[in-house]
């Protein structure tokens, strides 16, 4: 894909990001961080491709560790946010 096209997507996504997350209430700062963090674990997609290509030990090894780190990020992030949000939901 052309660089300019990728750059276009990037710039527009940054604007969308700013638009949807303005005025987030302080109550949610922590779960927002852990939840958004899990989303940044999307690198797992690249890690899976690198590991599965099966081209040499080095690339596979690096890919494997990338899969592990990204999966911890994804699973840990979504799960810990869910735990926290579960506590916020209860009303006294």
């Amino acid at each position: 894909m052309s660089f300019v096209l990728l750059l276009t997507v990037f710039v527009l996504a940054v604007f969308v990001g700013f638009e949807i997350i303005t005025k987030v209430p302080p109550t949610l700062h922590t779960p927002l961080m852990s939840g958004s963090n899990a989303i940044s674990g999307i690198t797992v997609v690249g890690a899976l491709v690198a590991t599965g290509a099966g081209e040499g030990m080095l690339a596979t090894g690096l890919g494997l560790f990338a899969v592990i780190f990204a999966t911890i990020n994804v699973v840990g992030g979504f799960l810990v946010s869910h735990r926290m949000l579960g506590m916020f939901r209860r009303k006294g």
Binding site: L6, V9, F10, A13, V16, G17, F18, I20, I21, V24, P25, P26, T27, L28, H29, T30, L32, M33, S34, G35, S36, N37, I39, S40, G41, I42, T43, V44, V45, G46, L48, V49, A50, T51, G52, A53, G54, L58, A59, L62, G63, L64, F65, A66, V67, I68, F69, A70, T71, I72, V74, V75, F78, L79, H82, M84, L85, F88, R90, K91
Partner: protein
């Protein structure tokens, strides 16, 4: 060909779900659904990659996914709410680690072995260098931040040194600048000689040193800014990796997280009336010429006891509790809730005033108080609580200092001048629960403690509330 189009459409669907997920996370009522929506997007992205991503060998993928899921699940289920700042810090770091590892693998796949393996697009090489740089800074910066939050310490020349204090190396600005120059030079080398993987790993190493050096001087009350900033970096690292792979879903997801982290960073900086550069590179300390602790406190401090405070509660209508990091340290949140329940049973309205930078990460106090089952509609933001404090009978400050220091309003030469504070001094009576008169992170005395309407209850946070509960039950 059809497979590729379907795969990219699935990635588009995942991106849309991420956007809806984050939008949901920004509002209390929709937050749970938002989080699940994001998780669904991730599931789709992973599933479609496995099916249509050109995966040939499954063994190591399965190993990686299983190991990562087990560790991630164990961490998420076992971490206590008090350990949440470290947990968030570590997760930021892992995202960065995954990014520089993927970029490293791509370097090997695209340019490795054969020096003439095709020119490769310039943008790809730049993106690889950027992933290495940002990813490594994120990982090692986050490890230091998590170590500070975990209160790790080490011995050096017979002295016990806490990682959490702001450790200032001599000539650190020079060292940092040198590190940046080396890192940039290595970026250029990576771009010009992508077939030499050693340059890439040296870049990762230089970025690691840089990540450590810029995080290590930052201490205590500035941690919320650092955590939010690293959150943003972890997103930017994913974006850079997206440019490496020419993959839109990485670029979109990464930019959303990058933007979200930046918004949090700016909220934190505003709450301290400081610029990001000031937090990162300047040191906060007592300015010469400010009043000394003796001048402020001498003869004006009134110590009190649990019994006296219990009597204060007679016939009051509104009590406001203002927590700070000390609440987390002494784990007083459950005792706070118990006292609040007792008071509420007598018809007292109990509210909580939360300063945006109270604690060690954005939203730290909210998480702790939510753990103790305190409903979130009683947790009031700074502006809201400041409007009711003048009509408040008793304000209880527990483990907070700088965020309630009236000097921020009155003395333009103070290091915290202009920082928005919670105006507890406007309440009829202020009770400050604190172990001693030691200064807060800004290192300046707090005239609030010496005011006519202030009573000091010198005690550990949790013990103080336990004693208060006993005293209130007896009265």
């Amino acid at each position: 060909m059809h497979g590729e189009i379907l795969r990219d459409l699935a990635y588009l669907l995942a991106s849309v779900l991420f956007i809806f997920g984050l939008k949901g996370l920004a509002h209390p009522r929709s937050a749970v659904r938002g989080n699940l929506t994001g998780a669904l997007g991730m599931l789709i992205a992973v599933a479609v990659t496995l099916v249509a991503g050109g995966v040939l060998h499954w063994t190591w993928i399965v190993v990686g996914l299983v190991v990562g899921s087990v560790i991630g699940t164990a961490l998420a289920l076992r971490v206590p709410m008090t350990g949440m700042p470290q947990m968030v810090g570590l997760l930021n770091g892992f995202g960065g680690a995954a990014s520089f590892l993927v970029a490293g693998a791509e370097l090997v796949l695209k340019f490795g072995g054969d020096a003439h393996a095709g020119p490769g697009a310039l943008q790809e090489k730049i993106a690889i260098a950027a992933s290495g740089l940002i990813g490594s800074v994120t990982l090692f910066g986050s490890l230091i931040a998590a170590g500070k939050l975990q209160e790790l310490h080490f011995s050096w020349k017979g002295r016990k040194i806490w990682l959490s204090s702001s450790l200032l190396l001599p000539g650190r600005h020079g060292i940092n600048a040198l590190c940046v120059v080396i890192a940039v030079a290595l970026c250029v080398l990576v771009v010009r000689n992508p077939e030499t993987a050693a340059w890439y790993w040296l870049l990762v190493l230089a970025a690691a040193v840089l990540g450590i050096l810029i995080t290590i001087p930052i201490g205590g009350a500035d941690m919320p800014v650092v955590i939010a900033l690293l959150n943003s970096y972890s997103g930017l690292a994913a974006t850079a990796t997206g440019f490496v792979l020419s993959n839109n879903v990485l670029i979109i997801a990464g930019s959303l997280v990058g933007a979200s982290g930046l918004i949090l960073t700016s909220i934190m900086c505003k709450a301290m009336n400081r610029s990001l550069a000031n937090v990162m590179f300047a040191t906060l300390g007592p300015t010469a010429g400010g009043p000394t602790a003796d001048e402020v406190y001498a003869g004006k401090i009134k110590a009190t006891s649990a019994e006296e405070i219990a009597m204060l509660f007679d016939g009051v209508q509104r009590v406001v509790i203002v927590p700070g990091y000390g609440l987390a340290v002494s784990q007083a949140q459950h005792a706070v809730r118990e006292l609040a329940t007792l008071l509420e049973a007598r018809g007292v309205e109990v509210l909580y005033g939360i300063h945006p930078v109270a604690g060690r990460m954005p939203g730290h106090m909210n998480v702790l108080l939510a753990e103790a089952d305190i409903p979130y509609d009683k947790l009031k933001e700074m502006d809201e609580i400041n409007s009711v404090l003048p009509q408040t009978d008793v304000a209880i400050v527990v483990g907070a200092n700088d965020v309630v220091n009236p000097v921020a309003r009155t003395d333009p030469s103070s290091p915290i001048a202009g920082m928005p504070i919670i105006d507890v001094d406007k309440a009829r009576t202020v009770v400050v629960i604190k172990r001693s008169l030691s200064p807060g992170f800004a290192g300046i005395p707090n005239p609030l403690f010496a005011m006519d309407n202030t009573l000091m209850f010198f005690n550990d946070g949790k013990k103080a509330f336990d004693e208060l509960i006993a005293a209130v039950k007896e009265s």
